[in-house]
């Protein structure tokens, strides 16, 4: 755990030193703030004191921003060769992956925490449902964790950040939209399977304030699969990296 934290701290420092973190946070707050409060079809149109418009906007912004955050985590170390330096320290591959993963999650956590003024504003406007707000944030955290694990995986299979970014978006696209569209076209069991695979379905149910074990298991399995595949791909290193 100690080792993981040391790696996490280094990753976080590197996020902030390279200004990447600040740019991401500003852009995230800018985009989601604009579409939540200022654009025409915003929170004031819903007629309810609810953060749901914000959640569905953040759902989209995070979808694009997370691959941009995760793309360099391992790809850059593959490219510069520092991965060799890091993995020959007394740490396991898993500790390295978890350290990097945790750093990404913390950064996203910071970005989400900075939207806390939205909660205050909405609760001043009317009677907001605290449970629904909490569930919404939990849902955002969980989709972030899922996309981060996919992003870290795609970062580990290449030494090119752009490829890592695009393949993370490509994989994410299936969970984000395609599975839901496919499930709409299919009937019976196949339709149901694709419906279950769709991130949007689970996100919607959770952000509506329904805490269901099924959704939690869904997110947990994506996170686990992503991290597991990262470990597999990291263990398949070759000497000429």
């Amino acid at each position: 755990m100690d080792k993981i934290w040391i790696i996490t701290k280094r990753e976080l420092n590197s996020y902030f030193d390279s200004l990447m973190a600040f740019i991401m946070i500003v852009l995230f707050l800018g985009f989601s703030g604009f579409f939540t409060w200022i654009s025409g079809n915003d929170i004031f149109m819903s007629g309810q004191a609810s953060l749901r418009p914000f959640f569905s906007i953040a759902y989209w912004t995070l979808f694009f921003f997370i691959p941009a955050l995760t793309m360099r985590t391992i790809a850059e170390e593959n490219k510069t060769g520092t991965i060799e330096m890091l993995l020959t320290k007394p740490v396991t591959d898993r500790q390295v992956i978890l350290g990097k993963y945790l750093a990404t999650l913390i950064l996203i956590g910071i970005a989400l925490a900075l939207t806390f003024p939205y909660v205050i504003t909405v609760s001043k406007l009317g009677n907001a449902d605290a449970g629904a707000v909490l569930c919404g944030y939990l849902a955002l955290l969980l989709i972030s964790a899922s996309y981060s694990s996919i992003g870290i995986f795609t970062s580990s299979i290449t030494n090119n950040q752009i490829i890592a970014f695009l393949s993370a978006l490509f994989i994410g696209l299936f969970f984000h939209i395609l599975f839901q569209i496919i499930s709409g076209e299919m009937k019976g069991l196949t339709g149901q399977i694709f419906n279950t695979l769709s991130m949007t379905v689970h996100f919607d149910s959770l952000s509506r304030g329904v805490l269901d074990l099924k959704d939690l298991i869904y997110f947990a399995s994506i996170i686990f699969t992503g991290l597991f595949l990262t470990e597999v791909s990291l263990s398949k290193r070759n000497a000429f990296n």
Binding site: K3, I6, I7, R10, N13, S14, D17, S18, T80, G81, T82, I83, E84, M85, L87, T88, K89, P90, V91, T92, R237, N238, A239, F240
Partner: protein, 308 residues
């Protein structure tokens, strides 16, 4: 702490990068690892440091297998990878602190240890600079500092002086010699005098196989077999001199080094040859103007063993 390598084999596809290599390195020895590019030096080092897993065989660090106990064995190794990869966006001091922490040095000792390494490697003026801003020589010092920050008992250095200018090479070599005292060191290099100057033993590896193992002296003797003396004899017909030399009892073979100037390479069996050549010249009233014993250089041994 000793290193035992047993029947190590590593394949990339069908090609064998290293092919059934076995050797032992005793505690405190400094080993020079030689071989042409692509011979398998780096691969062997990567396996010792648990970066790569071998296809067959195993490496034991102080009796512990690197396959079963990688985290434990890595703790005793300081490794400077080829090309010295570093986090260019980190300041030197932060980077060394990170390395110290990840090597498991207690928090309270980290600052002291980092300061000590900065002092030893002469990085004091550069410690707040980002690594990417440093020159190659200084980066190499950072690489050495990170490898030795936890005072490991084993040092694995992959071409520690490649790409440096002669002054920097001398400095880095001195550093290695100072810091490497009482440590087991394996260092790979292309610079042969470096090996002669710093190493107790030499391994020469070619096409994934170990082709020579010994001290520089024993290797030289092995390769030499016969001594060679270069002589220059004037005031005579080169062909007559050639014949006369050939007929000497202590001489096994003669060839022309330079016919025009009457210079010959004389291969000989015994030390008597010098006297024999001298008396031969006196008998025939030739003038002996040069007689140099020819030492087989490490370069020659290296080329002989690795060229096919």
């Amino acid at each position: 702490m000793d290193i035992v390598i047993e029947n190590l084999t590593k394949r990339y596809g069908v090609q064998k990068a290293i092919d059934n290599i076995s050797f032992k390195v005793a505690t405190g020895e400094i080993i020079g690892f030689l071989g042409p590019n692509g011979a398998g030096k780096t691969t062997t080092m990567k396996i010792i440091t648990s970066y790569l897993a071998p296809d067959e065989g195993d490496v034991f660090i102080g009796g512990r297998s690197v396959m079963e106990n990688p985290v434990e064995t890595k703790r005793h190794i300081g490794y400077l990878p080829e090309n010295n990869p570093l986090y260019f966006d980190m300041p030197v001091i932060d980077y060394l602190e990170f390395c110290a922490r990840i090597q498991g040095i207690e928090k309270s000792r980290v600052v002291n240890r980092v300061a000590e390494m900065i002092k030893i490697t002469g990085l004091n003026h550069e410690k707040h600079k980002k690594i990417g801003e440093l020159s190659k020589g200084y980066r190499q010092r950072v690489g050495l500092a990170q490898a030795m920050i936890h005072d490991p008992q084993i040092l694995i250095l992959d071409e520690p002086t490649s790409g440096l200018d002669p002054n920097q090479i001398a400095e880095i070599r001195k550093l290695i010699r100072e810091l490497g005292r009482e440590k087991t060191v394996i260092l790979s290099t292309h610079i042969l005098p470096e090996v002669e100057a710093t190493c107790d033993r030499i391994f020469i590896i070619n096409k994934g196989k170990l082709v020579a193992d010994g001290t520089p002296d024993t290797l030289r003797k092995q390769a030499q077999g016969t001594d060679i003396i270069r002589v220059k004899i004037e005031d005579g017909n080169p062909d007559t001199i050639f014949k006369a030399l050939k007929e000497l009892e202590s001489v096994t073979m003669v060839d022309f080094a330079d016919r025009q100037f009457n210079r010959f390479n004389v291969h000989c069996k015994s030390d008597r040859v010098k006297r024999d050549i001298f008396s031969l010249c006196v008998q025939n009233k030739w003038v002996l103007t040069e007689m140099t014993p020819f030492e087989t250089k490490l370069e020659d041994i290296f080329r002989e063993l690795t060229m096919n």
